[in-house]
Symmetry: C2
Subunit: 359 residues, 2 copies
């Protein structure tokens, strides 16, 4: 089987984890495991399957990303986008470069920089299945078996099994549903969570893009042949539309019956999408979740999370008498709330920014 | 009427307000009002009645105290005790010096460095009454009218009114009672809280001390005549017993019928004894209590307190969804709890110190 050319788009600040992650310290840098950032974990868990890894990020964060990539077991590259364009241009350019270097049958696999996966072996097993399906010409996604009627994820509607592959066809991708619809999906069965993982031959992916957005595919394939950065390259990049790979390729190709899905099963996936999710995937034996190099004393505080940004490492947080507390230390900012508020952090941040600026 | 020579013993760390106050940053330095420490407030509220003010503190905190005393409206002195000896030696030495300088009829008044009083005018009115009673030869204390059956204060049992003075005799001083006994005191009436304020002629106070502890009175009077610091002075000081003025003079003299009490009425007194008390006496219009120069965003957090030590000034604390929260920022330590735990901070501190040292 071919090996995988891995692309990891690392954009986005993760505002639902403010003030722990910010524009200048994106979510993928958080050390959810002790001394391993989400990005580093994303790289290490695919390494055994990877020929090489390319992380696409912004010029502002390229240096921080390079530190994370340093010392990886496979060749790595950090590519700085001249401007943010959502996931399709980032993944598409990486695919075009891989196609240019390794030919149109080389496999490209795109994975999020800031998700957590507890069972890495099972994860690699399903990625291997996805690679086999991709080798057969499918655009393949990996679907997470839902554990509850989540409203925070898009869903993949699955169709019939594909002969000879551990995969099924994808009927459609759906946007994040409301609670009623999510409940309906779970009751009906056949729906998986969309974790934003895509595996395909470079040629298949770019040809599919060419069907939907011909100028974009042409631009990316031209960019792959050019020196970057250069004025000409930047001009082509700037002209590209900002669009997610889901909308640009996955959804229309699913309608055309060209997308397959491999079901991940119980791999302990989390998008680490808010503080509740962060607490879930970092809980220690004593029931307290710790993020960053901090001492945490928890007294009568089951289910609590204490997290420290890079500016607050080595600190001591004491939480006492508040179950499900969330305490975030981030330099001169301290957020204290509970898990019940995990979904409303953007709102809290806006209010806080207003108070601060009016002081 | 004579004017008052004020003594303010400023010892004690205030461990029930850890980590906001510590040995190196005692409770009396907390800025409970905006930009005014408890000690500064203690000085300023007696200034209109005072001839001079002497603050007795430790050598380690003498410089911090001097900064607080600087710019007072009356002559001030900071006296550093060679070693801590509780309140009697501190107040007694100040009284002996006042007696040596101004004669035995000069009035000495001792007030806590770390209490809060909301109504300063009413406070001065009752101090004036106490001064008049002291001019008549009484050892006078000021009693706080109880508002609830508190178990955190000693009580003053009052006797008959004293003719011609707005004062009553003191039958006895009691230790901090349990809840049953405190309820009993309130139901029965005639009990006031002991706020540790004493006013007397220097000669009366020292003669009373001489009756109970003759060597101590002799030592203090000798010290008043000596150069300090000096080897001889330090030797005398070191030989003194460590004892509170309540036990050394007030209790035995009350039994002898020589102590009077002036009732303070509603002066808004607080001993700022724990975080619940601190929250009560610093509440802003929005229901949030702020201590120190910090921005606080409170969302659905009525009754909460956010406090910053000297090391954490200028910070921003956001409290969200936790009523009665207590959030204390103190350098590399953050305490998050609720008012229900205000009485158990020593316990929390011990547990926290253990966690930190075992890291």
């Amino acid at each position: 089987m071919s090996s995988l050319h891995v692309v990891i788009p690392a954009g986005g600040a993760g505002t639902r984890l403010w003030p722990l992650s910010r524009q200048s310290w994106p979510k993928y840098l958080l050390e959810v495991e002790r001394e391993r950032s989400l990005l580093r974990a994303a790289i290490e868990r695919v390494e055994p399957l990877a020929a090489d890894v390319c992380v696409v990020t912004s010029p502002a964060t390229a240096r921080l990303v390079a530190e994370q990539v340093d010392g990886a077991a496979v060749p790595t590259e950090v590519m700085a986008e001249p401007s943010p364009k959502n996931s399709m241009p980032a993944i598409g350019l990486a695919a075009a470069i891989i196609e240019y270097r390794h030919g149109r049958d080389a496999l490209v696999g795109s994975f999020a920089a800031d998700h957590a996966i507890a069972d890495e072996q099972r994860f690699r097993r399903v990625v291997s299945e996805a690679m086999r399906a991709a080798d057969h010409g499918w655009i393949v996604t990996i679907g997470i078996t839902p554990t509850h009627p989540a409203t925070g994820y898009g869903y993949i509607e699955t169709g019939a099994s594909i002969d000879g592959l551990a995969a099924r066809g994808v009927t459609s991708f759906t946007e994040k549903p409301d609670a009623t619809r999510a409940g309906h999906y779970l009751a009906r069965g056949g729906y998986l969570w969309n974790a934003g993982m895509f595996i395909a031959r470079c040629g298949v992916l770019l040809d599919a893009l060419a069907e939907e957005h011909p100028e974009m595919a042409r631009g990316l394939r031209a960019l792959a042949r050019l020196d970057r950065p250069s004025r000409q390259a930047n001009e082509i990049w700037d002209a590209l539309p900002a669009i997610a790979i889901d909308h640009a390729v996955a959804e229309p190709q699913a309608s055309a019956g060209r997308v397959a899905v491999c079901e991940a099963g119980d791999i302990g996936w989390s998008d680490v999408g808010d503080y509740a999710a962060l607490a879930e995937c970092t809980r220690d034996a004593d029931g307290i979740a710790r993020v960053g190099d901090i001492t945490v004393t928890g007294i009568d505080a089951p289910g609590s999370l204490a997290a420290a940004s890079a500016a607050s490492q080595g600190e001591h947080v004491i939480v006492c008498g508040i179950p499900d507390a969330i305490v975030v230390r981030a330099g001169d900012t301290t957020l204290v709330t509970t898990r019940a508020w995990a979904g409303r952090i953007r709102e809290v941040r806006e209010r806080a920014s207003h108070d601060r600026s009016s002081e």
